[in-house]
């Protein structure tokens, strides 16, 4: 890779949900300016892995380094402050709040009156709709509408728009094209490549190896909570990688038996 040290380095990560062993000794490096495809079947542990990176889960053991520094405390706020922006799967939107309020949740723009921070409603409305429109928000939906009333695709467009607005050093996309139309899907894929070309690290999660092979510089495959492959897309074809996924479960069991 171009950079000498990885932007995010994961070392021997283990995570247990009670008795369930969700991540098994995962080690992986991610570099700035890379587009990584993180691939695996449903339940492979992709979401769990990136939720450690964005501070939602703390690992049971193992280490995560960001920009060379070891992460001691895991909280989404800390990850966000370090420049990690995530399009989460299944969480991230509060149904009871408007689009504009969701868009800026946690980082609300304010206008100070007598030193008191008041929400800058005009900016929240204007900017959020302008950004989200690019990703498939219909014209008759307003920034004041509650997220609850949106379709799956529109909800996704709010999350994607938000990541674009706040993108910083890392953008993690957890199955970003779910619920999207073909055209919006292409738009998101172009976006991923653009972000990478701007020097960001992009981690793109999907269970469709063929989709991500075209975009990614490198593909990491997970199965049953373990990493089973980590290969440059120049080195392996999508078909070869698909074969790895098919074999993945067995490989993990073999390795565990050793």
């Amino acid at each position: 890779m171009t950079n000498t040290h990885p932007l995010i380095q994961v070392k021997n990560l283990d995570l247990h949900f009670g008795a369930f062993h969700a991540l098994k000794n995962v080690s992986v490096d991610f570099h700035a300016g890379e587009l990584i495809g993180l691939v695996g079947d449903n339940g492979a542990g992709k979401t769990t892995l990136i939720r450690v990176l964005c501070g939602i889960y703390a690992p049971s053991s193992g280490e995560v380094f960001f920009d060379g520094k070891k992460i001691e405390k895991f909280h989404p706020k800390l990850a966000i402050d370090q420049g990690i922006e995530t399009i989460q799967q299944s969480v991230g939107l509060c149904d009871n709040l408007s689009i504009a309020r969701n868009f800026y949740l946690g980082r609300e723009p304010v206008k100070r009156i007598l030193g008191i921070p008041f929400l800058d409603f005009a900016k929240m409305r204007e900017k959020s709709t302008r950004v989200i429109r690019q990703f498939g928000l219909r014209d008759n939906v307003s920034a004041d509408d509650e997220v609850e009333r949106l379709s799956g695709g529109e909800r996704q467009s709010v999350k994607i728009g938000r990541a674009v607005e706040f993108m910083n050093r890392v953008v993690i996309m957890d199955e970003p094209t779910n619920h999207l139309s073909v055209r919006e899907r292409e738009h998101v894929n172009e976006l991923a490549v653009q972000l990478k070309e701007q020097g960001l690290l992009v981690i793109y999660i999907t269970h469709d190896i063929f989709q991500v092979h075209k975009l990614a510089d490198r593909v990491v495959i997970m199965e049953n909570g373990a990493k089973v492959a980590d290969a440059s897309t120049d080195a392996m074809t999508a078909e070869e990688l698909e074969e790895v996924i098919r074999q993945g479960g067995r490989l993990v069991e073999k390795r565990e038996a050793v």
Partner: protein, 318 residues
């Protein structure tokens, strides 16, 4: 207008109008007297403080059962500490005690990951117990000097011919309304109640939001207790008993959802008005006072059904 109709308090506005129409029809001469209006608005103001605090906590998807005891405890503290500290000193300390109770309960809920229903039920008993021990069951009064202290008059008397409690309510409600609707804190509070996971994933420190809501709730309950005693400076051990139920009823009638994330300050105030009006009017009509509790129960259930239908009609979940 659209904002108002879609706000959580809209059902309560309809409820208040309907109630006033009914009371006017059945008891015009009794209801619209200066005496009744003055009493109802005074009691409403006091309950509304407690209900607003309750509403904030309910909006974070928690509940505070201790508010009646905190109301009583702050009142007792305010009166009994006055000889030693003076009116301003005991005012500050009484509020500090209320805030401390809120803080301790919040820590147990947030850090101990305990249900607020249980923690604040404990708080209800504990604070009430302290009242008994502290007062020894006896009645305490303000000295004449304390009664005529400017601060006592500012909190408990009349200003421009209007009960001070009502003016305080308007002021505090305006501040809380702005806080909830127009600041980042309010946005995060509603988000915490709407979906804690999602709020956390956006970097919101939902623990801190909940702690703040519990402290605000206790402060408001304590302030209401102090206001009451500035008006009638005499404590008794039952001060604020059952008030938690009235406050929860008021918040819920006012459109607060126990599932969190939805509610309004205006709704809590109107809910308090409905609860107090029913209590007052039933007694005025000669119903045995014990019936009032049953009535409030019925009103509560009707209000919840009504708010739900209204929300569905307006196109958001209830």
């Amino acid at each position: 207008m659209k904002q108002l109709v879609r706000s959580q308090g809209f059902g309560a506005i309809i409820g208040v109008v309907a109630m006033l129409v009914v009371f006017t029809l059945i008891d015009f001469s009794g209801w619209w007297t200066n005496q009744t209006v003055a009493n109802v608005s005074q009691f409403t103001a006091i309950l509304a403080f407690v209900a607003m605090g309750q509403a904030l906590v309910i909006m974070t998807k928690e509940i505070d059962l201790s508010v009646g005891s905190v109301y009583g405890l702050a009142g007792v503290a305010f009166i009994t500490l006055e000889p030693a500290l003076g009116v301003p000193g005991s005012f500050v300390l009484a509020l500090a005690i209320a805030a401390l109770v809120g803080f301790l309960q919040a820590i147990a809920v947030v850090k101990g990951e305990l249900p607020s229903m249980i923690v604040t039920l404990g708080g209800l008993f504990a604070a009430r117990g302290i009242i008994y021990v502290w007062t020894g069951g006896s009645v305490h009064n303000f000295s004449p000097a304390a009664r005529s202290h400017p601060m006592t008059r500012l909190l408990g008397g009349e200003l421009f011919g209007i009960d001070a409690a009502i003016l305080w309510l308007i002021t505090v409600a305006a501040i809380l309304g702005l806080l909830l609707w127009a600041t980042p804190f309010g946005n995060r509070l509603l988000a915490t109640g709407g979906s804690r996971e999602s709020a956390e994933s956006r970097g919101v420190r939902t623990d801190r939001i909940k702690i703040a809501a519990f402290i605000l709730c206790s402060l408001l309950a304590g302030f209401a207790g102090i206001l009451t005693l500035c008006n009638q400076p005499q404590t008794h051990v039952t001060l604020g008993e059952n008030m938690e139920l009235e406050a929860i009823a008021a918040a819920v009638i006012g459109g607060c959802l126990l599932t969190g994330g939805r509610g309004s300050i205006l709704g809590a105030i109107l809910g308090a008005l409905i609860v107090v009006s029913f209590r007052y009017e039933l007694i005025a009509l000669g119903a045995p006072s014990s019936w009032y509790i049953t009535f409030i129960g019925a009103v509560l259930i009707v209000a919840v059904i009504f708010n739900q239908k209204l929300a569905r009609f307006l196109g958001h979940s209830a």
